[in-house]
């Protein structure tokens, strides 16, 4: 009897190391790896959805506050979440997220890029110029935090209250 690829155990039974059993094992491992990857994707999506909802609500609050302010007024606003995201401003003539194409855009997103802000929360404004400081963003790393909204006609300066 030829024993190529067949290892004999003590009882003389054969295990085919090179053939079907190995293939089955590899397929099982790949299958389990795919399932773990799916679990990871669900985990990412679940966490991301909650943060997005927090961002949307927060941006809604900021927008309402701005809209309710007088032409010249200063107000503070408390931001609870999402921690580690950023308030980002895209000017009218810059590349901006698709949600506010062609308008001034205020967003809360994970990173200060157009791609990330397409996945974030954005609100468009007509004829309003925002100033978020030299970095054109306010980090929510230290959330909960307070921001100061300084409105002067069509110019709004938003700074973090230290």
């Amino acid at each position: 009897m030829q024993n190529r690829g067949i290892k004999m155990n003590k009882r003389g039974e054969g295990v085919n190391l090179l053939g079907e059993d190995v293939v089955k094992m590899i397929i099982s491992i790949i299958g389990i790896a795919i399932l773990f990857f799916l679990v990871y994707l669900i985990y990412q999506s679940a966490t991301q959805n909650r943060r997005l909802e927090q961002a949307e609500r927060t941006l809604e609050g900021i927008t309402s506050t701005i809209n309710s302010m007088e032409e010249v007024e200063i107000k503070s606003y408390s931001i609870e979440s999402p921690k580690d995201w950023n308030i980002v401003y895209f000017q009218l003539d810059e590349a901006s997220p698709s949600k506010c194409f062609g308008k001034d855009c205020l967003c809360i997103c994970e990173e200060d890029s157009v791609e990330e802000c397409n996945r974030g929360a954005c609100s468009s404004f007509n004829n309003i110029i925002f100033n978020l400081g030299d970095n054109k963003k306010i980090s929510l790393e230290d959330a909960p935090l307070e921001i100061i909204i300084d409105k002067n006609k069509n110019k709004i300066i938003i700074t973090q209250n230290e």
Partner: protein
């Protein structure tokens, strides 16, 4: 021939067992994923309480393994309540919630009704978040001795007051005493008081000491004790009409960390201690020792808990009695991987500085 037949039969048996094992494993994992996906879908219109509560149970049931609890995010929205005098016409709103959607209005005529509202919101928050018995957060880095132990919070409700209309109805916010209301009134439909419910079967176990000793990890990794004299602590009180938040906070540490256990013993809580005390709304002004402790990641959990319980128990500033702190310290998880920790529900002024005294992360949806 006989030997070959035996070999064939055994080989087939082995093939069947390994195939079945793999199939079973794959089926179990698939089922788990299916449950996760279905739970994300909201088939029926559920109340926000139910949605939050379900998400709390789901998260509390997950293993505390590699931040797996993050896979079940909390779906808890902050409720906004405007308390105003009960008028038939000219119903005014609260300035704090100007242009805010989904505001609930509580029309009241007496102090009792305000106290009842705050008491019920605390009970609702406590129940919704699992009565402090479920571990909702996992901090993998802290478990393995790296990184910080953070306090995680959910803001259950924000309560604002329209002072003008309340004054017309004779409601004086300075006279509000929520703790007294909780002791003297039963929960609607139940045969126990709010106080009894929150403090468990036995009365609150608080032992008050003038000097608090908190263990702190120093730069060299050793443990040193910081002594804080409670008489020196000052509290910045809130104005009577300031907006109030009902906050649920949980700090948990794995059993190998002694910090919270030490504080529990110091304050006479022991294991599984529940407490309800009067709590000032204002923030505790930091003393140099507390500030040092606050920036030390090993100490944050102990000082937040200790300051919350002991300072409020001392009733250093008893002028405004809207503040109540209730909680449970002890095992905050079911299962083998027991965690020691504290869950607290309390009233706090809705102000970033005050909230930051207790919360490093807020998980609720504003």
């Amino acid at each position: 021939m006989k030997i070959n037949f035996k070999m064939e039969k055994s080989k087939k048996k082995a093939e069947m067992s390994s195939t079945m094992l793999v199939t079973v494993i794959l089926l179990v994992i698939s089922f788990g994923i299916l449950i996760l996906v279905i739970s994300r879908l909201n088939f029926n219109a559920q109340s926000e309480y139910d949605t939050c509560h379900l998400s709390v149970i789901e998260r509390g049931s997950l293993f505390d393994f590699f931040n797996l609890k993050e896979a079940a995010p909390l779906s808890c929205k902050t409720k906004k309540i405007c308390v105003r005098g009960d008028e038939l016409i000219d119903k005014e709103k609260c300035d704090e919630f100007e242009n805010v959607k989904s505001v609930d209005y509580a029309n009241v005529k007496s102090n009792d009704q305000v106290e009842k509202l705050i008491s019920e919101e605390m009970i609702t928050c406590w129940r919704m978040m699992g009565e402090g018995r479920l571990s909702l957060y996992s901090d993998v880095s802290a478990d393995y001795g790296i990184g910080d132990v953070s306090s995680n919070c959910v803001i259950c409700s924000r309560i604002a007051f329209n002072e003008k209309t309340l004054e017309k109805k004779g409601v004086d916010l300075k006279d509000i005493n929520v703790l007294n209301y909780m002791i003297t009134h039963k929960i609607p439909g139940q045969n126990m008081s709010y106080y009894s419910y929150l403090s468990g079967d036995s009365p609150a176990k608080i032992s008050v000491k003038d000097n608090l000793i908190i263990p702190v990890k120093n730069e060299t990794g050793g443990i040193e004790n910081i002594s804080i004299n409670l008489k020196d602590i000052q509290i910045e009180e809130a104005n009577a009409a300031d907006e109030v938040a009902i906050l649920y906070m949980q700090i948990s540490t794995p059993t190998k960390m002694e910090a919270l256990g030490n504080v529990g013993k110091l304050v006479g809580l022991g294991a599984g201690g529940a407490f309800v005390v009067k709590g000032p709304i204002g923030v505790i002004k930091s003393l140099p020792t507390i500030r040092k402790c606050v920036i030390n990641p090993y100490c944050i959990g102990t000082v937040v808990l200790a300051a919350t319980i002991l300072v409020t128990a001392q009733q250093i500033n008893a002028e405004l009695n809207r503040g109540v702190v209730a909680g449970y310290c002890g095992d905050v998880s079911v299962g083998e991987n027991a965690r020691n920790g504290c869950s607290v529900v309390r009233t706090v002024r809705y102000d970033v500085q005050d909230i930051r005294q207790y919360c490093s992360v807020i998980e609720s949806i504003p």
